[in-house]
Amino acid sequence: MATATFQVWRGDEAGGSLREYKAEVGEGMVVLDVIHQIQATQAPDMAVRWNCKAGKCGSCSAEINGRPRLMCMTRLSTLDLTQPVTVEPMQAFPKVKDLVTDVSWNFRVKRQIKPFRPRTPDAPDGTWRIDQKDVERVQEFRKCIECFLCQDVCHVLREHHKHDQFIGPRFLVYAAALEMHPLDTENRVEELRKAHGVGFCNITKCCTAVCPEEIKITDNAIIPLKERVVDEYYDPIKMFFRFLGGRK
C-alpha cells in the first residue's frame, strides 16, 4: 500500500493548526476513511462527524484542499496525492473541535420559517390527489441532506457574517420547497424579503457549485423566490391588495 500525507486541522474554539499525518491509502478509499484510520491508530481524540458513509446524511462536511465537500464522497483518486491533502472544518461556523463545528445556528434559522400548511383534502377520505409532475418539481429541493456546505461557501455568511439577516442558500432552498409544494397554502414572501434577507444573495452561484446533491440552488430556488418577491412587492395591483390587507 502506498502512503500519502494529510494535514488535518486540530484545535478548538481557542485556536489550532494543521497537523501532519501519514496514512496508508488503498483502492477506492475516500477522505473519511483516512480520517478514521488516523483516528484509530494515531489520534484517538480527533473529532469528526459522520453517519452514513454514502452521501445520504450530510454529516461529514469539511473543507478538503480548501473546497467544501463531503468527506465520505471524496475519493482519494480524485486528489493529487503527491502533495499533502489538507482537511479543515467548515469556516462559516464557530469551531467546536478539530473537524467538528457548531452548526446549531442552522437549526435555529429553520425554526423561523413558516411551516407547511396544506390545503383542505381533495377527497372525502382526507387524502389529496397530486400529479407526479408536481412531486418531481419539488423533489430537487427535498433531496437536500442538510450538509450546510452551501452555507459554508456563501460569502454573505462566510465573509460578511450576516447570520442574523440572511438565512443562507440552504434555507432559501427550504423555503422554495415549501412555496412550491403542491399542497401548501402559506405565504412566506414578506419574510423572505425582510427577515430572511433574500436580497443579500447576489447570484454568485458558489452554493450551487458545492452542493453534493447537485441542487441548482441559485437558478431553480433562489431566482424564482426573488421573482416572487418582486412580483408581489412591486406589482401595483398586489401592492394595492396588500394595502387592503389581502394575501396571496
Partner: protein, 603 residues
Amino acid sequence: MSDYQSFECDVLVIGAGGAGLRAAIEASAGGVRVICLSKSLLGKAHTVMAEGGVAAAMANVDERDSWKVHFADTMRGGQYVNNPRMAELHARESPARVLELEKWGALFDRTKDGRILQRNFGGHAYPRLAHVGDRTGLEMIRTLQDHGVHQGIDFHMETTVVTLLKDGERVCGALAYDRDRGYFKLYRANAVVLATGGIGRSFQVTSNSWEGTGDGHALAYHAGADLLDMEFVQFHPTGMVWPPSVRGILVTEGVRGEGGVLRNNQGRRFMFDDIPELYRNQTADNEEEGWRYTQGDKSARRPPELLTRDHVARCINREVKAGRGSPHGGVYLDIAWIKQKLPNAAEHIRKKLPSMYHQFKHLADLDITKEPMEVGPTTHYMMGGVRVDADTQMSSVPGLFAAGEVAAGLHGANRLGGNSLSDLIVFGKRAGEYAARFAREHGAAKLDAAKVDAAAKAALAPFERGPAHNPFTLQHELQEMMQRLVGIVRQQEEMEQAIEELQHMKRRVQQVGCAGHRQYNPAWHTCLDLEHMLTVSEAIARAAAERKESRGAHFREDYPEKSKEWGRYNLVVRKAADGSMAVERVPVIEPSAELKQVIEENR
C-alpha cells in the same frame, strides 16, 4: 463530584430517528413536556438512510390488498414467532400513519390518478411500499423533524445517554453527556421512551452507522427489562462489496423490486434453484413471469429474487462459498439488463433509483444502467430488542417504553423490507401516547443522587485509565469475532467460543481508556459504546446458541431445519439476580381466533 446540567420533563424520548420523533410528536400533542435526545445532529439518524419505502396496505395499486394480507405476510415473513397483536396493529394502522405524514408535508411518488404510488418488495404479496424514489427515509425524517420543531419539543442534539435511572421499580430519568462539550446532563422524567435503533456495529460488515451500537438494548437490559428474540439479526442480501472502504453499504431491495436480477459468475439466475416450500405458490417459476410481476402484471407471481431477505442472503452466501461468486466475493445484481425490455431503460433506472445510481457512480466508478453491481450480505437490522406490550409499548420496567428497531415482537424471526419505517410511525405514535399517559397518571419520580454520582464516575473511568489500551482496537476485534462466529451461518461450538471470547473482552473493556479532555473525544465515546456493544453481542450469542433450529434470519449449520417444538418459543434474555445473563424460553403469543383465520385464508 461532577456537576450536572439538570433538566426536567414528563416524557424523555431517547432517539430522534423515525420512532423517537413520532413518539415525541405524539407525547407533546398530548400536552406534556417532552425532551428528545440524539447522539447525532437532528435529521442524521439511521432513518435518513432508508431507501426503498414504507409498507402500508393502502391498496392504491392493487385493490386486492388489505390489512389482513399485510398482517399475514408479516407473520409468514417472521415465521410465526412474531407477536400477532403487534403485527395486527401495525397492518391496521400504518395506512393512517402514512397519510398523516402527507398531511405534515411529506411528498410520495404518485399513481396516474394522483394517489400515493406503491412498489413491490420482498415478501409482500402486493405492491405495498409508499416511496419517493429511493430516498424515502430522508422524506420521512425531514417531515417528522420539521413538524416536531414547530410543536414545542425540546431537542437536545449530540447528547448520549450512558445510563437509565430508577426510582424503585420505576424508571425516573437518565444520565447523559454532551458530546460537543463533554459535560454531564441529568434528566428527570416521569416516563422514558427508548427509540435508539439497531445494533449493526457489533458486526464487521454492516449497513449501520456508528450510532448502531445497541445502546437502548443495553440500557434496558441493565435497567432490568426483558430482551426478546435477540438471536434474530437480519443480514440484508445486498450490500456493496467493493471497494473495501464501502463494504456493507446498502443496495436497496428496490433494485430487485424494479426488475433487478441476481446472477452468479456463470450467468445463472441461481435464485430459481432453491424456492422454499412456504413460498412456492407465490413465486414465479420462469424468468418471464418474474419480469411481468415487477412491471405490475397482476396475474404474475413474484420472481425469486424477491423472496425474504434471510433466504436470499443464504443463497448468495452459498454461491460465494461454492466458488460461483464475483471477483470480490459477492454475486452480481443486474438492473442494466432491463434495457432489453424497456426502450428508455437508463433514464428509467436513474429516475427510480437515483441514489443507487449516484452511490455506485461516485463510490465504485460503476454505472448501474450499463453494468451489473457486485453485492453480498451485510448486517442490517435487529429483529430482537426490548420486550414490550403490544398496545402500549411499555417494557417490563414501569415507565420505560420502547419503539422502533430497539423494540421486539413485530417482525419475529425475519423482518420484511418496508416494515421498519411503518413500525416506527405506528409504534412510535403508540409509545408517545402511552408514555404521556403514564407520566400524567404517575407524576414525578425521585432521582437518587448517590446513584447518579456513581454512574458519572463510572463514565469518567476511561480518562483515569489513560490511553495505553486503545478502544478502537478492541472494537475492531469484537466486530471481526462476531462476524466470524455469530454471523449468517451459525453452529454451536463457534457460538460457545464467541461467548467465551466475550468474557475476555468484558475484562478488557475495563482497561481501555483515553487521553485528552472531554470535549468531542471519540476515544472516550468509543470506550463507553463498547460496553453496550459487548452486552448486546453477548445477548445475541447466548440466544443464538440456545435456539437449536434454523428459523428466519437465524440459520444453523448443525440444525439446518425448522423445528415444530422451537416454533412454540421465543427467547427472553434478562439480567439475573446475581448479575449474570440469563436466557429463558417463553411460549409464543397465540394469535386470536380471528387472526388465525386471517392467516389460514392467506396461506
